[in-house]
Subunit: 231 residues, 2 copies
DNA sequence: GCCGCTAAGTTATCGCCGGTAAGTTAGCGC
DNA sequence: GCGCTAACTTACCGGCGATAACTTAGCGGC
């Protein structure tokens, strides 16, 4: 009857919320060693917490809601990691790189959490809510503010920082996601590779701004072939 | 007893392989309208083909093997789309952009196929096999050959094309994967956005080659702020 | 003291899943 | 028409998400 982990004592009257936190923590732990969110089961979580499956549903409408709560938690952790990596740095471009590197490092260190947060299908019906959830997300706002600062510093062309933020985020996500999904590829020193990609994305964006958007690929090829050395 | 779809006639003696193709096709169809590979069931596939579930196991060891076969099929389609997009184009940089755009377009048009192929966890034990599977994959080799041609044309610094290919692929994957995972974000015209990202990645890589790898983020910021206009 | 009320759980069950063992049917060679 | 085997089916196992219905424990009121 009893599961591997000990049975949990019933929470005292006022504090049912305590179980909620335990459930989220246990789900995060189980997620860390699972292939995806389908691989962690309500039953497994319940067992880890020391409770029976239906008790989970007292705190979460369904499994998706539980996973969503974990994802929100993960994004907060990610933001904290980014902020910590940029503390004391002033120049916007350095902050941008620090953010990006911390982002990729977090993904590498918590691959399954990152996968669930950014690579699984979002419920389609939650469109407006999820849009706000990403754009209002702390990590995203901090990132976009830094892009804005880079514009002020003359690194990027002045304008709406949102599309630039999305583009740079794409680069960071690309390298992080591929390293997670195809870990056996010859990535070399992962953070160095990530750094190269991030820097190339930023430089490419900045140079594109200066070259103008109407250049064809052939024009770019000619221009690049003509550039032998830096300034 | 009878399912929605009609019962399939038993295949004639010599040709059991025909069912295999039908299974793959049906799985691809079901995958196209599912959240992930866990959401398509062996039972669903069997029903769509007009057969009972255990018959699937006559052709595939387990569900993973079936999904893997579908993924291989998808990668072949992807390669075909890339090749088709670059037919008649000669200049390597234009080919590179055409490949990248076709890649992202394929991902946008077949989001669930792309997700299963590139965003779900690979079986860990298959390391060497999967490494070859990606690196020897037709799309990847074609892409890397074009990177090599770009080096010969003086666009990128000459050297091993593999790391550059991985970096550019990361950029393409990043924008494709994010557009799929977060479709509600303000991407604007998706292919235009993808084009900007891809071009920025290529330019950034090329300019980075010329600037040298030892520049700090602050150096880059200074250099960029000093660059007012093109050549 | 004990009673109602409700928070905090449990037991039992449903239908679906991946997968397997064992049985059945149909067609070819002889 | 008989054996052989390819091409299936029926019946089943344990585990899953989810729900309905039941039980237990503690607090306020009298």
């Amino acid at each position: 009857m009893t599961s591997v982990s000990t049975r949990r004592k019933r929470a005292s009257r006022g504090s049912g919320e305590q179980l909620r936190e335990e459930i989220i923590a246990a789900t995060k732990d189980l997620l860390a060693e699972s292939a995806n969110s389908d691989a962690v089961s309500i039953r497994g979580v319940a067992d880890a917490v020391g409770v029976t499956p239906p008790s989970i549903y007292l705190h979460f409408a369904d499994k998706d809601a539980l996973i969503e709560a974990v994802v929100a938690d993960v994004f907060n952790e990610l933001d904290a990691a980014m902020l910590a990596a940029a503390v004391g740095i002033e120049r916007p471009m350095e902050v941008l790189c620090a953010y990006g590197l911390a982002y990729v490092q977090f993904a590498i260190e918590h691959p399954e959490h990152y996968r669930v947060a950014t690579m699984e299908r979002c419920p389609v019906e939650g469109q407006p809510g999820h849009l706000d959830m990403v754009l209002a997300d702390a990590a995203f706002t901090h990132f976009m503010a830094t892009v804005s600062a880079c514009m002020d510093a003359g690194v990027f062309a002045k304008g709406d920082p949102l599309p630039v933020t999305l583009e740079l985020w794409s680069a960071a996500h690309g390298v992080a996601a591929l390293m997670i999904a195809k870990p056996f590829l010859p990535w070399g020193e992962r953070l160095e590779t990530a750094n190269r990609v991030l820097r190339a994305a930023a430089i490419g964006r900045a140079v594109s701004d200066r070259l103008g958007g109407e250049m064809t690929a052939a024009d770019v090829e000619d221009w690049l072939a003509a550039q032998r050395i830096g300034p």
